[in-house]
């Protein structure tokens, strides 16, 4: 069966593009090797946190950031387009299968959320369940950890967060609970989140901490407050503790990210889109040099999936969308697109200073204004392929804190661009 659009990749960018297209009536197929970056990342929509100084108002700062960083992916979208994408995403979450689980915030101001080492990280749009962690202007916090969750250390968070510069005093104390009682000594975030789905477990947690809390203290937990009904678990804790409660993201697996995956996957299903995991795209299907679909490994068979459009959203080196071999040749793995920003042979790819920007950091797929991949001379490679998310060249998202912002903006933009073309417009009409 032929699809209007094949989306390659199930991270934030791919799912956003797929859902947006499917909701407009396009026949969409998502192919992915596995689940994407959602399961690894905190899934706060960090639009722009540092440039390199801490940024308070990301919407306002975008234009200057693009100017200072030529070729930055934010140069491919308008601020209004990013705002529209944010509003759309918020609507998906609140009306989705986990609703009223919601995202809050906007491009107007970054919140400063505590991280698992107690830094204050600028984030624009965040789950409502994290919002009360906002440190701006000072805060009084009680950070609760769990002995069995080795991936979150509440005392470290409390000690450091009380020393952050956030425009006001931060007081923080901590507790470590030995819950759930019995059972395995090691729990990961997902296992603990399943416990938080259970009201009896939440009662036990509340019973251990409620009497210790100071009058003004907000209560911070690792971001594991439920996976089936996170809003219910969070609201229940706020109600029983009688104060704001918030989540703090930590090491993978990311429970908030899994929630985003569940929300967007369900939105795709409701709109008639399809998703196939364990389907690794290994190359384009070509006819007379024109891309007419993709070739994917499905089990041991190679299958051709015809499509009018393709959105490539396989991620960067972290996700395996891009690859560098031992002879230092970079490769885009799904369609074999040219990779830009890779230092020439003999040039350094990295420096010996970890926290400096590395020469390879901005490598990725270069695109034109229409998000179509281009070769070294700026010539388009395929006119019906759009590239979105971390596959794009030009950003250092983990440093500037812009990962999910870029993915949301460019995934949404890729869908809009495809919807503007005649073939899909006929379907949507």
């Amino acid at each position: 069966m032929s699809h209007d659009t094949i989306v390659i990749g199930t991270g934030m960018a791919g799912l956003v593009a797929a859902v947006r297209l499917a909701q407009s009536g396009a026949r969409v197929l998502v192919l992915a090797k596995g689940v994407g970056s959602t399961h690894l990342c905190p899934s706060t929509i960090d639009v722009l946190g540092y440039g390199p100084q801490r940024i308070e108002r990301p919407g306002e700062a975008l234009a200057a950031h693009v100017e200072a960083n030529p070729g930055h992916p934010y140069g491919l979208v308008e601020v209004s387009g990013l705002e529209a994408a944010v509003e759309w995403f918020k609507e998906q979450t609140v009306s989705g299968p986990l609703g009223p689980y919601a995202y809050v915030g906007s491009l107007e101001a970054n919140k400063l959320l505590p991280t698992a080492v107690g830094a204050a990280k600028p984030s624009a749009v965040v789950p409502e369940t994290m919002a009360a962690g906002d440190l701006r202007g000072g805060a009084s916090l009680h950070i609760v950890g769990f002995r069995k969750l080795k991936d979150f250390h509440s005392a470290l968070v409390a000690d450091n967060v009380s020393r952050t510069e956030v425009g006001g005093p931060v007081e923080a104390r901590s507790a470590e609970l030995d819950l759930p009682a019995g059972g395995r000594v090691d729990l990961n975030g997902l296992a603990l989140a399943r416990h938080f789905d259970d009201a009896a477990f939440r009662s036990a947690v509340v019973a251990q901490i409620v009497r210790r809390l100071g009058a003004e203290e907000r209560v911070g937990f690792p971001a594991v407050l439920g996976i089936k009904d996170p809003h219910g678990a969070w609201a229940d804790l706020e109600h029983r503790l009688g104060r704001p409660v918030f989540e703090i993201p930590t090491l993978p697996p990311s429970v908030p990210g899994m929630r985003v995956f569940a929300i967007l996957r369900e939105a795709l299903r409701r709109s008639g889109g399809e998703l196939i995991l364990n389907a690794e795209v290994v190359g384009p299907a070509l006819e007379n040099g024109r891309l007419v679909g993709v070739r994917a490994n499905l089990g041991r068979r190679e299958v051709v999936h015809p499509a009018d459009h393709v959105v490539l959203a396989t991620g960067g080196f972290a996700s395996g969308g891009l690859e560098l071999d031992s002879r230092w040749k970079a490769r885009e793995r799904a369609l074999g697109l040219p990779v830009a920003g890779v230092p020439a042979p003999g040039e350094p790819r990295f420096t010996d200073s970890y926290f400096e920007e590395q020469p390879l950091s901005r490598a990725g797929i270069a695109v034109d204004r229409e998000l179509r991949p281009v070769g070294p001379g700026g010539e388009p490679v395929y006119d019906n392929v759009r590239v979105a998310g971390a596959t794009l060249a030009g950003a250092v998202p983990w440093t500037e804190k812009s990962g999910d912002g870029i993915s949301l903006a460019t995934g949404f933009r890729a869908a809009e661009l495809i919807l503007q073309t005649t073939t899909v417009a006929a379907v949507t009409a």
Binding site: V117, R163, R327, F350, W398, K401
Partner: protein, 543 residues
């Protein structure tokens, strides 16, 4: 200023220095060992882990070959817990002259190295990843030895016999009284404080840095040619037997399986200063190509880490400079400065190799005893090190076996190296260190495929939780670990290891924002109890 008194001051906490401290302490001398950094952080911790059978030197340096096989057998007895008996192979690859095999066999026979030619087909069954086009193969009793485990066992043993170990203490001056060296001025690198050691005898086991120490004593003409060698650890045991190319010693001709990885080495490049040993891209490419010759597909395997060490090759000034340091003899030399320079109470050890460290230590302490007119016999040939009392060699499955016993009771902090929470916390307390890199060497924390991606955050939290550090110092330790780790990974970042490194970037920068955490530099930020421990001489525990 604090003044410590001792009979023997040992400078340098590598294998030789620790071996000297162990030897001297066993002979009943009151001993202090100092190192400017942690034990085994210099050359001794930067090798491929090969316990030589002597085969490598059988043709080129028969004397060294005999020393190696003798010491190999002694170490299997006294330090068994630090040795895995992998056995070794010499193979003639398609690029090697098969006729060399005959010279090799003859050399082994002449030097006492047990070697035997074996059927290539059998070898390929045992080591299926080896180049199927190898032409000849010989077995030898090579093994691997865990450098840090062995050095800490030596230090632990010495401590049990009264020795004091001062890590992070650099020698800033040697004291002289007329024609005798009488001790040293030290600086505590963690606190900046200085202290004096009054010593009856000073033994310099500073390896590649021995010339600098000799210079401090006013001795001229001691020269050590630092020869840089790089090594790359690969993610898997590509082979389970040590594999050597059956040729004259050259670059990239040894592949050593050790713990869960295999290490290829090495190069040999003359370098100006032992502290400046950068790894170049050309060296990495050369190692990977050499790996392909031994194990086809080597370049597709995952490289974990690369490092460089400096061989302390004693330079005989009379023969002048040579282009290649490999031609300088590997055998050690004890410089008795009384004979050489008329200076009492001071001996320098130069040259040598890991496998013969015990012999070197014995020679050095013998020279001291002779000068002192003491007749105290060396006991290190027989005395087993702490942890090796039962004489059992290390087995690869050891940690898994321990893990299975404690599966229900112990958190696993480092999945790659199977390190439990209590083991980590005990090491942090006993070492009295706030430096995660010190813990790494003790426990192999963060040395597996993720290179600390997950365990280092956990370890940071635990370091803070047991009260060893406040939040900013703990974050500083984390930042410092990430930077130290980066030095060893960036030259080999390709394939899956680049992917892993980028995931770690997302975790530490993208999610945790460590670069903006309130962090203080770890050195100098050690809490009071650490400083006290350092001043008293650290309590030492075998890892």
């Amino acid at each position: 200023m604090t003044t410590l008194q001792t009979e023997v001051l040992v400078i340098g906490g590598g294998a030789t220095g620790a071996g000297v401290a162990w030897d001297a302490a066993l002979r009943g001398f009151d001993t202090i060992l100092v190192d400017r950094r942690d034990l085994g952080e210099g050359t001794s911790g930067r090798f491929h882990g090969l316990l030589h059978s002597g085969g490598r030197y059988a043709v080129k340096d028969p004397h060294a070959a005999t020393e190696c096989i003798e010491e190999n057998l002694i170490l299997r007895h006294i330090a068994s817990d630090t040795i895995e008996d992998t056995g070794g192979l010499f193979v003639s690859t398609p690029d090697d002259d098969p006729a060399y095999g005959d010279r090799f066999l003859q050399g082994c026979k002449d030097t006492g190295v047990p070697a035997e030619e074996v059927d290539v087909a059998e070898v390929l069954k045992r080591e299926p990843r080896l180049n199927p086009r190898i032409k000849r193969a010989f077995t030898v009793p090579d093994a691997n030895i865990d450098a840090w485990k062995c050095i800490w066992a030596l230090a632990d043993g010495a401590t049990r016999h009264g020795a004091r170990i001062l890590t992070y203490h650099s020698v800033v001056a040697l004291h002289r009284d007329g024609d005798a060296v009488t001790g040293a001025r030290l600086r505590n690198e963690l606190t900046g404080e200085e202290l004096d050691v009054e010593a009856g005898f000073t033994l310099s086991a500073a390896g590649a840095w021995a010339a600098e120490i000799a210079h401090m004593a006013g001795v001229e003409g001691v020269r050590v040619a630092p020869g840089k060698g790089i090594m790359i650890a690969m993610n898997h045991r590509l082979v389970n037997t040590v594999v050597n190319r059956c040729t004259m010693p050259a670059d990239g001709d040894i592949l050593v399986p050790i713990r869960t990885v295999s290490v290829i080495g090495t190069t040999d490049i003359r370098t100006a200063h032992p502290d400046e040993i950068p790894v170049t891209q050309e060296e990495v490419d050369q190692m990977l190509d050499d790996g392909e010759t031994l194990v086809p597909g080597f370049r597709d395997a995952r490289a974990l880490r690369v490092w460089a060490g400096v061989r302390p090759l004693f330079e005989d000034v009379k023969t002048g400079d040579t282009e290649s340091t490999r031609d300088i003899g590997r055998s050690h030399a004890v410089l008795d400065h009384l004979e050489r320079d008329g200076l009492k109470g001071f001996v320098t050890m130069t040259g040598g190799k890991w496998t013969t460290f015990r012999l070197m230590a014995q020679d050095m302490v013998d020279v001291m005893c002779r000068q002192l007119g003491e007749d105290r016999a060396c006991r290190t040939r027989e005395e087993r090190l702490p942890g090796s009392e039962d004489g059992e060699t290390y087995q690869l499955g050891h940690r898994l076996r321990v893990r299975e016993r404690e599966l229900q009771d112990e958190q696993l902090v480092c999945e790659c190296e199977l390190i439990s929470r209590s083991r980590l916390e005990t090491a942090m307390r006993e070492r009295g260190t706030a430096n995660l890199d010190d813990i790494r060497r003790n426990l192999r924390l963060g040395m597996g495929p993720c290179q600390g991606g997950f365990c280092i955050y956990r370890a940071t939290g635990m370091l803070h939780a047991i009260g060893r550090q406040d939040g900013p110092s703990a974050a500083g330790s984390l930042v410092s670990f990430l930077q130290e780790r980066w030095k060893g990974v960036w030259p080999i970042l390709y394939g899956d290891q680049l992917r892993q490194a980028r995931l770690d970037d997302w975790i530490y920068q993208g999610a945790l924002d460590v670069e903006h955490a309130p962090a203080t530099a770890p050195v100098g930020a050690a809490p009071p109890e650490v400083r006290e421990a350092a001043a008293d001489g650290l309590k030492v525990s075998a890892a």
